[in-house]
Symmetry: C2
Subunit: 344 residues, 2 copies
Amino acid sequence: MQNKHTEIAALGEFGLIDHLTEEVEIYNASTLLGIGDDGAVIDTFGKQMVVSTDMLVEGIHFDLMYMPLKHLGYKSVIVNLSDIYAMNAHPTQITVSIAISNRFSVEALDELYEGINIACKKYGVDLIGGDTTTSQSGLVMSITAIGEVADNQFVTRKGAKVNDLICVTGNLGAAYMGLLLLEREKKIFLETPGVQPDLENQAYVVERILKPEAKREMIQWFESNKVLPTAMIDISDGLSSEILHICKQSQTGCTIYEEKLPIHEQTRLNAEKFNIAATTAALNGGEDYELLFTADMADFEKLANCPLVSIIGHISSAEEGAFLITNGNNKVKLNAQGWNALKN
Amino acid sequence: MQNKHTEIAALGEFGLIDHLTEEVEIYNASTLLGIGDDGAVIDTFGKQMVVSTDMLVEGIHFDLMYMPLKHLGYKSVIVNLSDIYAMNAHPTQITVSIAISNRFSVEALDELYEGINIACKKYGVDLIGGDTTTSQSGLVMSITAIGEVADNQFVTRKGAKVNDLICVTGNLGAAYMGLLLLEREKKIFLETPGVQPDLENQAYVVERILKPEAKREMIQWFESNKVLPTAMIDISDGLSSEILHICKQSQTGCTIYEEKLPIHEQTRLNAEKFNIAATTAALNGGEDYELLFTADMADFEKLANCPLVSIIGHISSAEEGAFLITNGNNKVKLNAQGWNALKN
């Protein structure tokens, strides 16, 4: 299977679309019409809809040398679902558009779509449309995710108020450590072809970069515990950059405590090896796809007992600025050093 | 303005997005939240939603040598709105994602967005989100359009029945003639730089390729005249290709009459000059963005009196096949010779 190389042109555009979408299943009653027409049709059942879109470019957002196509397909879906969850909504449909150069075979595209389909199945999301075309170089993917939310239960970046709790799901900086490891192994491989990658005991951080998950369980927890965050965002560019988005749009400041930052043991060990402060990885690493949100103090008890989150600080007034209180009790101004695709 | 060249990196990703979207206006009450968060939020007011997406790649779908960026922005929106109208829905929102190489300046992107904004204003559509990133070569645009339709009034490709009328809006083949003219002038220019393009009296066909329109008025006519097409598609790949889509999905055949094909005088004159049968341009030219639909015989009177459409044939059984009856009364099998981006 891996070694078969069917030219994309052999199937033609319509043949290729038929081939790639024959495995597509529909999980939502709201999907009235999926792939195969000028548009897809969604029954909204009176709910509000959330829409988000992302573009992923080979050489900028991913490196096919260490990112298998199946993982790329999976991750590209997750990244978009994460945006929908960050609005406190449930993703229901996605469209996937792909521009590919002729160096890709039908089998390679099959792997990409296998990853897309696995993510759709796991998160109960329907692939309802897309576009497939050639590019003159590399692979470009554009995914649009659609979600639903009960009337006015969506959460933006701009509702944080002074004294709100700042919370984050899971742990931070692991994906960045996984990236550094993969970059190191790529370099070694290019210098000494044939050397097998040394990723023993690194499964966790490598999985965080290659096969991230979106925090659906947090949104489900909000519902069952009747907590509505005051502001929320997903962490794609690093905690610093994201909390500054919330502060800017909410016109507030914030105080975050270094000792409260949730960091996985494997992240700490790798940070040491790479001679990086684990806190820097947590603040600026990016691609964690955890949820960062603020909540009213009245929800403290519930959140303190929620196994999904860490309370890492609180919102302050805009005049007070945005700061990290270090373990040594220093006050360090937060900067958005996050990953910036346009500076590549 | 045209000569200023501001590096994109000078603004950074967030600065660039702010800059490009500062002119964006909201025209629909359903747009609860637009650009600036993880997602946009749409109030559906209990209607059904239609979603369509397209990817446009430099060198495959457009040539910046004769396609000004402002026109490209305008056309890229129109192409997507046309898909929404082809579902009998009204477009309400779009997202626009762009990957650009560093050779583009902020001023160039401004022109692109100017075209996007003009199209949005003309069609009353809100730009609600997107993504902006770098590419290593060329320009790639991905647009997703969202529309609304009253419950179960959407029209697919699969409802055509034997004896239904086949109708088409406007006229066919003009965009292809415009394309041939522009390709000819490009060739002359490359051979003899400095020569001004000779496009006198060609305004109509050139406009059809550079600045097409979507057939909103047809959808409005259906509403006010209480006609619901049995099947509909927009003509992007040429009449032959599109009617075969309807026939395949509806499991029917069709008969189309050459003498009924609406062809503009400028299309005929140019076809003669290029030594192409005008009928070939109409059948296979593509990029017309007219609507092709089928309707019940009971609507004949209304449609015969509608100034927007030509009745060009009728649906037959699948066994009878798909044919063109020529002016010489020959029966020619229809083939999908339409434009196929994957064969480029």
